[in-house]
């Protein structure tokens, strides 16, 4: 379970970001989380709430958008969603996919702040 470490890194980053913009009052954080990032959504939500305590983000909401795993198929020359996380091949022609297009993200997309 490394979600607490991830949550702490994320909160440090957002606090720094909000202070560099003159002290934002953050109400919600929008996070893009790849299905293949190795980070569990439920554990991250739980860790976020804990790690926010005593920081300027206390009481803010974490809104997670899951980004599906997408690979590039060299045969079809198209981005494809593989049949599962443990079958990294093209669902159409079965060519193994060595290039991951998306699905590894752990990225703060935006913040909702009090206007």
């Amino acid at each position: 379970m490394h979600e607490l470490s991830i949550a702490i890194s994320m909160i440090d980053q957002i606090v720094e970001e909000s202070e560099s913009r003159g002290g934002l009052d953050v109400e919600a954080v929008h996070l893009k989380l790849g299905a293949f990032s190795g980070v569990d959504k439920a554990a991250l939500l739980f860790s976020y709430e804990l790690a926010c305590e005593g920081t300027r983000l206390q009481g803010s909401r974490l809104l997670i958008e899951t980004i599906p795993l997408v690979i590039y198929c060299d045969t079809c020359q198209k981005s494809r969603t593989p049949p599962s996380m443990y079958q990294l091949c093209c669902p159409v022609c079965q060519t193994p996919g060595q290039t991951i297009v998306s699905g590894r993200e752990i990225e703060v997309a935006s913040l909702e702040v009090a206007a």
């Binding site: 490394h2 190795g38 193994p96 703060v108 935006s110 702040v113 009090a114």
Partner: protein, 228 residues
């Protein structure tokens, strides 16, 4: 009360990634081939590394960093092969990060090291998110763990470069299905290089040594290019 949206678009592990990149550049400049080792607890990372260090130390200058939650047992064990071993005890943290590696390297002259191994905490989940600046990541899977480990932990297998199947001397006793294991590795990381070894009998170690030897030659080419 109204709200507004502020675009950020920042990677959460940006700090770690930047530090890992700086470490990778340092390793490139010093011509050090750095290999990370990840696996579940008890799959034989330390035994494999002990054997590997012993063999490599005959021809190369070798060093290792070993991560564990507690104890310095692994470092003591590896020091039988080379004195250049440092233990990273993480306390309650289940993975190494680039900062821990940088701190542990302090005062080591990288120019005097050909191969540096970084043995991660035994864990097939968390280390996959943290780049340590290594050139290659080896993921170990022991014959006694079962052939479906790659399917259960696709993220770590996919983020690794080479798979090492350890404890092959126990494969028959454990009814290990090698064909299925190789198929499962190929499924989660198409094209992945696979070695079958036994640290106990020495089976397959020559192939790994040959691979590392070639890898070091490639690292040195990059070093020359980086210097030009």
């Amino acid at each position: 009360m109204s709200t507004r949206i502020v675009e950020v678009r920042a990677k959460v592990l940006k700090q770690n990634d930047l530090l890992a990149r700086a470490l990778r550049e340092r390793f490139q400049r010093s011509g050090t081939c750095v290999v990370g080792l990840v696996s579940s607890p008890g799959s034989g990372k330390t035994a494999f590394l002990e054997k590997l260090l012993g063999r490599l130390a005959r021809d190369y200058r070798v060093a290792a960093l070993v991560g564990d939650l507690a104890t310095e047992n692994d470092a003591a064990r590896l020091q039988r092969a080379t004195p250049n071993v440092r233990q990273i005890t993480t306390g309650t943290i289940c993975h190494l990060d680039a900062q821990m590696v940088e701190t542990a390297l302090e005062s080591w002259r990288l120019e005097a090291i050909d191969f540096l191994f970084i043995e991660n905490v035994g864990n097939l989940v968390c280390p996959s998110s943290y780049d340590l600046g290594e050139e290659l990541r080896f993921v170990l899977l022991s014959a006694t763990e079962g052939e479906d480990k790659p399917l259960k932990y696709p993220t770590i297998f996919n983020s690794s470069d080479v798979a090492i199947i350890t404890k092959m001397d126990l494969a028959d006793a454990a009814d290990f299905d090698l064909v299925a294991a190789r198929r499962n590795i190929e499924s989660v990381r198409p094209g992945m290089k696979v070695f079958e070894v036994s640290s106990k009998t020495g089976l397959g170690m020559e192939e790994v040594l040959g691979f590392l030897h070639a890898q070091l030659a490639r690292s040195r080419e990059t070093q020359v290019e980086a210097a030009l």
